[in-house]
């Protein structure tokens, strides 16, 4: 009988864990939003986090953006050439980048680089009682640790995405115009013709939502970490995995709502 019930019990445990975890993340999100409006406002910490999450991610975003645009232009340019339609390469790359690729890939890069660092730092602070030290010094740890990271990530993501857009299109230009020999005027004109402000803002707004998701999930995983070094390692991995999954789910939901 037990072996019949075991899968049901396991399923039940998964569902309970999912609901508990989601509830816990939403409570932390509520606390972060409430504390964002409360004094003290920590502008210096927000700027420091913007530097860490934004400025220090520029290198990896440059590489990812350039090669994404380049390889996408290479693939589409070769196929379009079969139909004598290579002039449309820039247009396809441009629209795909600004609406989907840039926000999603930028978010995945930030989740991997900054999300993991956030979870590891807060997790280490938790297991070494530094978060307890904040509390006994009458400093709200949500206000001090989570709000600056939440605001910074949400604000820098659109900037990084816009930068990814630019670098990605630059990469596609290099491959399309320089390597494949597509007419420069047609390449640029088609992008201008196809990609409008609505497309760009769609991508930027999405990236801001992804930033908020990365921040709150990574902060949650670190903040409630436990179990010493192993626990911090687990939290860091879970932060990246859960952030990445939530980016894809949120991308589908937002796109489905807008289209």
């Amino acid at each position: 009988m037990n072996y019949l019930l075991a899968p049901i019990a396991a399923l039940g445990r998964v569902i309970i864990t999912f609901i508990t975890e989601t509830g816990s993340i939403l409570i932390l999100l509520f606390l972060a939003l409430r504390n964002s409006l409360r004094r003290p406002y920590r502008f210096k910490l927000i700027l420091e986090q913007m530097e860490f999450i934004g400025v220090n991610s520029m290198g990896i975003i440059t590489l990812t953006g350039f090669f994404t645009g380049a390889v996408f232009a290479l693939q589409t340019g070769k196929v379009f050439r079969l139909f004598n339609a290579e002039g449309y390469t820039g247009m396809v790359v441009g629209i795909s980048l600004v609406r989907e690729l840039a926000p999603v890939l930028t978010s995945l890069m930030v989740a991997a680089r900054a999300g993991s660092a956030i979870a590891a730092k807060l997790g280490t602070m938790r297991v070494t009682h530094q978060i307890d030290a904040l509390m006994v010094m009458a400093v709200d740890p949500v206000n001090y640790l989570i709000v600056p990271r939440f605001i910074a990530t949400t604000l820098v993501m659109p900037v990084l995405t816009a930068y990814f857009d630019f670098i990605g299109i630059l990469g596609s230009y290099v491959v399309g115009v320089v390597l494949l020999g597509i007419n420069e005027g047609i390449f640029v004109y088609r992008i201008e013709w196809m990609v409008d402000v609505g497309d760009i803002s769609h991508g930027l707004i999405k990236s801001s939502v992804f930033g908020a998701l990365i921040a709150i999930i990574s902060c949650h995983k670190g903040f409630y970490s436990g179990g010493g070094a192993e626990g911090v390692g687990r939290s860091t991995t879970e932060a990246v995995v859960l952030s990445s999954i939530s980016i894809f789910v949120a991308d589908y939901v937002i796109t489905a709502l807008v289209i």
Partner: protein
């Protein structure tokens, strides 16, 4: 100063505090003795408002903690300094930033005034001039002393030492004990020490309380508790800390 009455606290099925009552007199050193896992830290976390009791009352400086909301509890916590067992210094800040942290958070002192206070607190713990060092560059005993300087930065009314001598060699143990006594004398603050180090506790305390099975089973001056017939206190006094296998 701090009056704890009939405190009960359970985590799921595990009863940790089962009617603990204790009084901490103003300006005195009171040590809570107890074996590992006896609930000493849980008791202290209630006193500082980090945990809410299932039942019972805690009155700090005339304020019943149960009647306070989270923001009011933050104000109560400003009366406390807390020295963690593992020091809990912020590892991403240097010594100056660690000690000045509560000053910048809770006072409007100018930077020059803060520098003066930090230097004074470092002198108090015998570590003048190490403001620029990072915690990773300090030994265990130095970290503890910097953590003490941070704990007293705001001139708290009450200071709590969580296992201050655990893991220290005998020389450093005596140094930390002297530091607790001299800090109390210099600042006249109410001092709570959590410990299972009977030798140190007898040396520095004005009062001792023994926490066993969720209750304070012995309380009094060092002279009085040394005459206690309670089996756990006898074990402590014999220098043998041995958790009972079962309640019986």
């Amino acid at each position: 100063m701090i009056d704890v009455q009939d405190l009960h606290k359970s985590f799921k099925q595990q009863v940790v505090l089962d009617g603990a009552s204790i009084f901490f007199a103003e300006g005195k050193i009171t040590t809570i003795l107890g074996g590992s896992g006896s609930g000493k830290s849980v008791l202290v976390k209630h006193i500082i408002g980090l945990l809410r009791p299932d039942s019972g009352t805690i009155v700090v400086d005339g304020q019943d903690l149960e009647t306070l909301d989270d923001r009011e509890l933050l104000q109560v916590r400003k009366k406390f300094g807390y020295l963690f067992q593992d020091s809990a210094l912020f590892d991403f800040m240097n010594v100056f930033d660690n000690i000045s942290f509560p000053l910048f958070e809770h006072t409007r002192l100018k930077r020059s005034e803060v520098q003066h206070v930090v230097a004074e607190k470092l002198r108090l713990v015998g570590l003048a001039g190490i403001e620029k060092k990072m915690p990773s560059e300090l030994s265990g005993g130095m970290k503890k002393r910097v953590a003490l300087a941070r704990a007293v930065a705001l001139d708290p009314k009450i200071i709590i030492y969580d296992e201050p001598t655990t893991g220290l060699d005998p020389v450093m143990t005596d140094t930390v004990n002297d530091l607790i006594a001299t800090t109390q004398e210099a600042l006249g603050i109410t001092t709570i020490v959590i410990s299972h180090d009977i030798r140190s506790s007898l040396r520095i305390s004005d009062f001792l309380g023994l926490l066993n099975e969720g209750k304070i089973v012995e309380f009094g001056t060092p002279e009085k508790v040394q005459e206690s017939e309670h089996p756990m206190m006898r074990l402590f006094l014999a220098g043998i800390e041995r958790a009972p296998v079962s309640k019986s």
